[in-house]
């Protein structure tokens, strides 16, 4: 190992320099914290072979194998590739896309977060940008995945419309609504104040007779970060009804960040510096199509 070590290249390839000399924590590519049981067994085998037999689950659903030696970098890459795994990324680029379990598992979820996370990963993962860029996808307004702490957060929403026929006028939806946006009239009809409705979907989830027409939607927040400075991502458009619009809007957000952020500046800091008006107009244009 006489050559000079290019730490930046190693870091880009997911090899994180440890405090111990010549040891690296190897970050793996992951999406939404989803791994097969075979993946987990293979990761364990590789940690035994190249590390110290431990594996670290990171704060953002990543997996790292610590105590990997520099001279093993190429062979561990090859071993990972053989079992369908690959190193992740660090540095100024699009990072691990996080997601909750979503509608394939969770009774509360309004959207298939894992599917959306995989599509975002395919579209953006590792893309070079002025600074790190994080996407998070959460299935409902319970917000287990903390959408607003990401540069772009996606939250599953549910547009609702009352159906008179199956309704038994039980009033559960009225008590379920946290925005007090639902009222029951004296003759047992349901009225929704859509100005107050956040499309969280609690009314239709609590309904014992499926008396709601529902449509999944994506509520987006922009400019969040939760590191040394805390900034909560903010909404600027209504919930999005379809995937095509969703990706048009995320393309616009990533593109604007690429064109306007200074090196080493997160989206939230960029928006604080130059203001949100032009950015929000760009997002609204993309939303309208």
């Amino acid at each position: 190992m006489a050559e000079k070590v290019d730490y930046a290249t190693l870091k880009r390839g997911g090899f994180m320099r440890q405090k111990q000399k010549n040891r690296f924590s190897l970050r793996l590519h992951s999406v939404g914290g989803a791994f097969s049981s075979d993946d987990i067994r293979n990761i364990g085998d590789i940690a035994d072979r190249y590390g110290n037999g431990t594996v670290h689950f990171t704060a953002r659903q990543g997996v790292e194998i610590p105590f990997v030696k520099l001279e093993d970098v190429e062979s561990i890459r090859a071993d990972l590739a053989r079992v369908g795994l690959r190193p992740g990324v660090c540095g100024p680029r699009v990072r691990t896309v996080t997601a909750c379990q979503g509608s394939t598992v969770c009774p509360s979820a309004n959207i298939d977060t894992q599917d959306i996370a995989r599509k975002i990963d395919e579209r953006y993962y590792g893309m070079e940008l002025p600074h790190k860029f994080k996407f998070g996808v959460t299935g409902c307004h319970n917000n287990c995945l903390k959408a607003e702490e990401n540069d772009v957060g996606i939250k599953g929403s549910c547009r609702v419309k009352w159906k008179e026929d199956p309704c038994i006028s039980c009033g559960i939806c009225v008590t379920a609504c946290r925005e007090h946006a639902i009222e029951m009239t004296d003759d047992g009809k349901i009225a929704v104040d859509y100005a107050a409705c956040t499309s969280c979907g609690r009314c239709q989830r609590a309904c014992p007779t499926d008396a709601w027409e529902t449509h999944p939607a994506y509520t987006l927040t922009f400019g969040g970060q939760f590191g040394s400075t805390l900034i909560k991502g903010q909404e600027c458009i209504p919930p999005i009804d379809d995937e095509e619009t969703l990706f048009r809007v995320t393309d616009a957000a990533v593109g604007y960040f690429k064109d306007h952020a200074n090196k080493g500046e997160r989206m939230g800091k960029m928006l604080a510096r130059i203001g949100r008006d032009e950015f929000e107009e760009t997002i609204k244009e993309a939303y309208r199509g």
Binding site: I168, G171, I172, A176, A206, P208, T209
Partner: protein, 84 residues
């Protein structure tokens, strides 16, 4: 009181989730398809979850009455057995 031919009653105000639904489920298991169970339940979490869970298990929620004291009466008709 609603005008239902109630086959059995169960009070779930003395237990917390998930026992609320378990108690309801056990009471429903004793009934035949179409028979009606009256469930005395508290507002809040039991009200948000127990009626919905009954629906998801194939039973039919007929009516909910607000007792005005923080409790409700739910009338639920037993659905077809899964095993059948």
């Amino acid at each position: 009181m609603a005008d239902f031919n109630v086959a059995d009653k169960v009070d779930i105000t003395d237990v917390v989730c998930p026992v609320t639904f378990v108690k309801t489920k056990i009471a429903l298991e004793e009934l035949d398809e179409g028979q009606i169970l009256q469930v005395h339940l508290a507002e809040g979490e039991p009200l948000q979850n127990v009626p919905r869970s009954c629906k998801e298990e194939g039973h039919r929620v007929l009516k909910l009455e607000n007792n005005g004291d923080g409790t409700f009466e739910m009338y639920v008709a037993k659905g077809p057995d899964d095993e059948a």
